[in-house]
C-alpha cells in the first residue's frame, strides 16, 4: 500500500488520473500553469498525445476523437479557452460518445499570464458540468469522475484547476490502474447530432437544457461534494485551494467543500445553510459560488470581505476575516525588509532575442524615450507591438523595446491597425516562432491582403521556450518525441505573398541592424526571421568572454544589453564565467567600443 503514495503536482495527478481512466487521445498547446499535464501524458506510448498548433485546434482534435467513442482530453491555460471557445461551445451542443474532458488552468495572481479571468463562468455559459480539485489527490480522483460523467450525460466536462493546485505537490494515493473502456473506436453516421445547422442545433439546445436538469440531480449526490460538521455558528462553502486556506483559518467551522461547482447542489447548499447561524463563501477571483447561491434565495456573504483580485492565502483570508469580526485581532505581522533591490526575470545569457532587441532599442532610441516619459505624450520613433513569450521580457529596462502586449498573435493585427490609422512612425510587430504558428499566421495573411506597410520580426528560437521548451510545428518533432514534418516559416510567408523576407543570424549585430534598417525603408509588408537556438537548449558552452580591465573604461555600454552574465562590482564591470554562454553568443564582444571583450 505504501508504494502507491507519491508526492506529485496537481498537473502530474491530472495526467495520471486521465491515463488510469483510459484516455486515448490528448491534445494541448503549452501554457502556464497547464503545460505539464500533456508533457506527463506524452510519456505514455500507448496513448496519442499531441502539441496542437493552438488551443482551438487542440479542442477540435479532442472533439473528433470523442466522436469515435475514444476517451479524449484537452488541456490549456485559462486564456487558451478564449481561443478555443468556438469549438468549446459546439462540443456542448453536439455532445460526445467517448468521454471528453477539458482541463482549464486559471492563474489567479497572474503569475505568468496577461489577465486573471475566472473561467468558471465558461462552464455556466456552455451549460456543462465543472469539477474543481482542492489538491493533487482530488485532481487524480476527479479525472476518473470527469470521464464517467461525460459519457453518462453526453456532455464535455470541464475540470478547472488553478496555478496553486497545478503547481503544488501533495501526497496522492495512486489507487487505480489503467483501464480502456472502448478499445475499438469508430465513427457512426449521425447528422442530427454532429451537424450544427439550425435544424439540428435548436433541438440539441433543448437536449442540453434537459441534460442540465439531470446534472442538477446528479450533483446532489456527487461524492466529492462533502460536508464536514464542526461548530454550527459558522458554515463555509468553498472549492479549490481556497478550501485549505479556510480550513486553516477556521479550524472549528462547518464546511461544505464542493468538488463539482457546476451545476451547484441546490438542495445540499440550502440544507447546509439552514443548519448554520452564518454562511460565508471563501473563493478565489469572482463571486461565482456566492452569486449563484444568492440566486437560490440563500443569505450569504463572501466578496464583501474576501478580495476579488489576486490569489488568496491563509494570511489574506485571516486579515479579511478579522476585518468583519469573524475572528479576533491577532498579532501584527512583520513587514518585508525595506529597500532591497528587486530581482525581476531577465532574458538568459546567450538569449537569441538580446541582439535584435538591442538593435531595436538603439534604432528606436528607446532609452531616451524611457527617460523622457514624464514630459507628456510622445510617439515612439519606432512603434513596436509585442506578443506573448519569453521575448515579452524585453519590455523591461534596459532594453524596453515593447509598446504593446495583449494576447497570443495580437501584435501583427495591432501593428497593421496603427499603420492604417496613420501613425507617423514606422511600426514593427515582434512575435516568436511558436506564437506565430499559434495565431500569427492569420495576422500575416491580413497584413499582406490589406497591404499594411509594417515589418514583422519573427524570433525563431526553434522551441516554445517560456513554458519550458515544448516542440511546435516549426521544429519537426512531435510531443511524443518522434520526427515529423517541419513547417518552414520562410516558405510559409512566401506562400502567403510576402516578397521581402530576410533570414538573419540572431547573434550577428551588424546583419541585424542592416536588415532592420532595410526592411523599415520599404513600402510593403516585410518579414525578418531572426534565427538562433534558445540558449537553455545549447548544451555546449565554450570560452566564456572576459573583460580586459586594462582596456575597459567603464563606459557600461555592455551593461545596456541586460545580460545577466555581465555584472558590476566595486565599479568594475566583469563577466561571470559560470553564466556566460561563450562562443554561441559573443554579442557583447561585437558591441564593445574599446574591443575590451574577448575569449
Amino acid at each position: 500500500m505504501e508504494k502507491t503514495l507519491q508526492l506529485i503536482s496537481g498537473n502530474e495527478a491530472l495526467a495520471l488520473g486521465a491515463y488510469h481512466s483510459g484516455v486515448q487521445v490528448a491534445a494541448a498547446y503549452p501554457g502556464t500553469p497547464s503545460t505539464e499535464i500533456l508533457e506527463n501524458l506524452a510519456r505514455f506510448k500507448d496513448i496519442y498525445a499531441e502539441w496542437s498548433t493552438n488551443e482551438k485546434v487542440a479542442m477540435e482534435v479532442a472533439m473528433g476523437a470523442a466522436y469515435t467513442g475514444a476517451r479524449a482530453m484537452v488541456s490549456m491555460k485559462m486564456v487558451g479557452l478564449n481561443v478555443a471557445s468556438d469549438p468549446f461551445m459546439a462540443a456542448s451542443y453536439t455532445g460526445i460518445i467517448g468521454g471528453l474532458v477539458i482541463i482549464c488552468a486559471d492563474d489567479p495572481q497572474i503569475h505568468s499570464s496577461q489577465n486573471e479571468q475566472d473561467n468558471r463562468h465558461y462552464a455556466r455559459m456552455a451549460k456543462i458540468p465543472m469539477l474543481e480539485p482542492t489538491d493533487s489527490q482530488d485532481a487524480y480522483d476527479l479525472m476518473g469522475y470527469a470521464f464517467d460523467i461525460s459519457e453518462e450525460f453526453d456532455t464535455p466536462v470541464m475540470l478547472r484547476t488553478t496555478t496553486r493546485i497545478s503547481h503544488s505537490k501533495s501526497v496522492v494515493d495512486l489507487n487505480r490502474t489503467r483501464k480502456v473502456k472502448n478499445d475499438s473506436p469508430a465513427f457512426f453516421f449521425n447528422q442530427q447530432k454532429y451537424i450544427m445547422l439550425p435544424v439540428n442545433a435548436l433541438p440539441r439546445h433543448a437536449l442540453m437544457e434537459k441534460r442540465m436538469l439531470k446534472l442538477k440531480e446528479y450533483t446532489e449526490t456527487f461524492p466529492l461534494n462533502q460536508i464536514s460538521w464542526g461548530k454550527r455558528d459558522l458554515g463555509i462553502v468553498t472549492s479549490g485551494v481556497a478550501y485549505h486556506y479556510a480550513r486553516e483559518v477556521f479550524p472549528e467551522a462547518s464546511f461544505l467543500k464542493l468538488g463539482m461547482t457546476w451545476p451547484l447542489p441546490e438542495k445540499m447548499i440550502k440544507d447546509f445553510a439552514g443548519q448554520v447561524d452564518r454562511l460565508i463563501v471563501v473563493e478565489e477571483l469572482d463571486p461565482f459560488l456566492e452569486d449563484n447561491i444568492k440566486s437560490m434565495g440563500v443569505e450569504v456573504t463572501g466578496k464583501e470581505f474576501i478580495p476579488l483580485v489576486g490569489e488568496l492565502n491563509t494570511q489574506i483570508v485571516t486579515d479579511s476575516s478579522i476585518g468583519v469580526g469573524l475572528i479576533p485581532e491577532s498579532e501584527k505581522i512583520l513587514p518585508p525588509a525595506e529597500g532591497l533591490p528587486k530581482r525581476p526575470p531577465l532574458l538568459c545569457p546567450g538569449c537569441p532575442h538580446t541582439g535584435i532587441y538591442f538593435v531595436l532599442n538603439t534604432l528606436g532610441q528607446r532609452t531616451k524615450l524611457l527617460k523622457s516619459k514624464d514630459d507628456g505624450p510622445q510617439e515612439p520613433k519606432l512603434i513596436i507591438t509585442g506578443d506573448i513569450g519569453c521575448y515579452t521580457l524585453g519590455a523591461y529596462p534596459p532594453l524596453s523595446v515593447l509598446d504593446t502586449t495583449a494576447c497570443m498573435g495580437a501584435g501583427i493585427g495591432q501593428a497593421l491597425g496603427m499603420a492604417r490609422a496613420g501613425v507617423k512612425s514606422k511600426v514593427v510587430a515582434i512575435i516568436g516562432d511558436s506564437t506565430f504558428m499559434h495565431s500569427g499566421i492569420t495576422g500575416l495573411v491580413d497584413a499582406v491582403y490589406n497591404q499594411g506597410h509594417i515589418t514583422i520580426i519573427i524570433l525563431d528560437n526553434r522551441t516554445t521556450a517560456m513554458t519550458g521548451h515544448q516542440e511546435h510545428p516549426g521544429t519537426g518533432i512531435s510531443a511524443q518525441g518522434e520526427e515529423t514534418f517541419a513547417v518552414d516559416i520562410e516558405s510559409l510567408a512566401r506562400g502567403i505573398g510576402v516578397k521581402d523576407i530576410k533570414v538573419i543570424n540572431a547573434f550577428d549585430i551588424k546583419a541585424l541592424r542592416n536588415g532592420v534598417k532595410d526592411s523599415l525603408d520599404r513600402e510593403e509588408v516585410s518579414v525578418i526571421i531572426v534565427r538562433g537556438s534558445c540558449a537553455m537548449r545549447v548544451r555546449k558552452r565554450a570560452n566564456p568572454r572576459k573583460i580586459d580591465v586594462e582596456k575597459c573604461t567603464q563606459c557600461n555600454y555592455c551593461l545596456s544589453l541586460g545580460c545577466p552574465a555581465i555584472q558590476s562590482a566595486d565599479g568594475q564591470v566583469f563577466i561571470e564565467p559560470t553564466l556566460c554562454a561563450g562562443d554561441i553568443c559573443t554579442i557583447c564582444e561585437q558591441l564593445c567600443p574599446l574591443k575590451a571583450i574577448s575569449a
Binding site: L7, K169, L334, L340, L346, Q567
Partner: protein, 218 residues
C-alpha cells in the same frame, strides 16, 4: 572563511520528533531551489509525514527570485505558509534571505549561503546590494539563530558548483527530524548515476559545515 553571526541557540528541532515544520527554500533561478525542495518533500513523505510543497515560479525561472514553500505535518492544509510562521529559512543567496525574512517565526532558524548574485539593477548602479550587516539585521528582526555558511566556496572546492542545493540540504538535515539515511536515499534516488556520488559528498560536506558553524560559535 566562516562567517558566524549568531550565538549558539536552542535548535529544538534536532532532538524530539517535530510535529510540524514550515520551511522556505529560496534562491535565484538556476540555483536548484526547486529540486532541493522536492527532495525535502520526498524525504519527509518517506519518513511518514503528510507533505505539501509549492513554488513561486512563473516567469521567475529566468534568473528571477525563486521561493519554495514546504510543509510537513501529520496533516497539512494550505500549501502556502502564513507570514511569520516559518520554522526554517534555507537561502541559497543572501539577498533572497533578506527578502523573505518577514516569513520567519520568532526564534526560527535561517541558514544562509554567504554568496552574492547582484540583480541587474545593482550592476547598472540603480540600486545597492545590501551589506552583510543589513541582511543579518533583516533576519534578526525575528531570530538570533542566523547561520551563514560558505556553500559556494565549499562546492567549488568539491569541483561542482551545481551541487550547492544539495550542500544546503546537508546543512538543513542537521536541524531536521528526518533520519540521515532517509535523506541519503532520497538524494540518491533523484540523482543520475554520473553525479550521484558528488552530490552525496556535497550533502556530507554541508552537514559538517553547519556543525562546524554551530560549534565554532560557542
Amino acid at each position: 572563511m566562516r562567517t558566524v553571526m549568531s550565538p549558539e541557540g536552542d535548535i529544538g528541532m534536532s532532538n524530539a520528533k517535530m510535529e510540524k515544520i514550515n520551511l522556505l527554500v529560496t534562491g535565484v533561478g538556476g540555483q536548484g531551489v526547486v529540486l532541493a525542495s522536492d527532495i525535502i518533500g520526498e524525504t519527509a513523505l518517506a519518513a511518514g509525514y503528510d507533505v505539501k510543497k509549492t513554488d513561486t515560479l512563473g516567469m521567475a525561472q529566468r534568473g528571477g527570485s525563486v521561493l519554495s514553500h514546504v510543509r510537513l505535518a501529520p496533516r497539512v492544509w494550505s500549501p502556502l505558509i502564513k507570514d511569520g510562521t516559518v520554522d526554517l529559512l534555507l537561502a541559497l543567496e543572501k539577498l533572497e534571505a533578506a527578502r523573505w525574512s518577514h516569513f520567519l517565526r520568532p526564534g526560527g532558524i535561517a541558514i544562509v549561503n554567504n554568496y552574492e548574485q547582484p540583480p541587474l539593477s545593482v550592476s547598472l548602479g540603480q540600486e545597492k546590494y545590501p551589506g552583510d550587516g543589513a541582511i543579518a539585521a533583516a533576519l534578526k528582526r525575528r531570530t538570533d539563530q542566523v547561520y551563514f555558511v560558505d556553500g559556494t566556496v565549499r562546492v567549488k572546492e568539491l569541483g561542482n558548483v551545481r551541487t550547492l542545493n544539495i550542500f544546503m540540504l546537508g546543512c538543513f538535515s542537521v536541524f531536521s527530524p528526518l533520519d540521515v539515511e532517509t535523506w541519503r536515499e532520497s538524494i540518491a534516488r533523484r540523482m543520475p548515476e554520473n553525479i550521484r556520488e558528488i552530490n552525496l559528498t556535497a550533502f556530507e560536506t554541508g552537514r559538517k559545515e553547519i556543525e562546524g558553524v554551530r560549534i565554532g560559535k560557542s
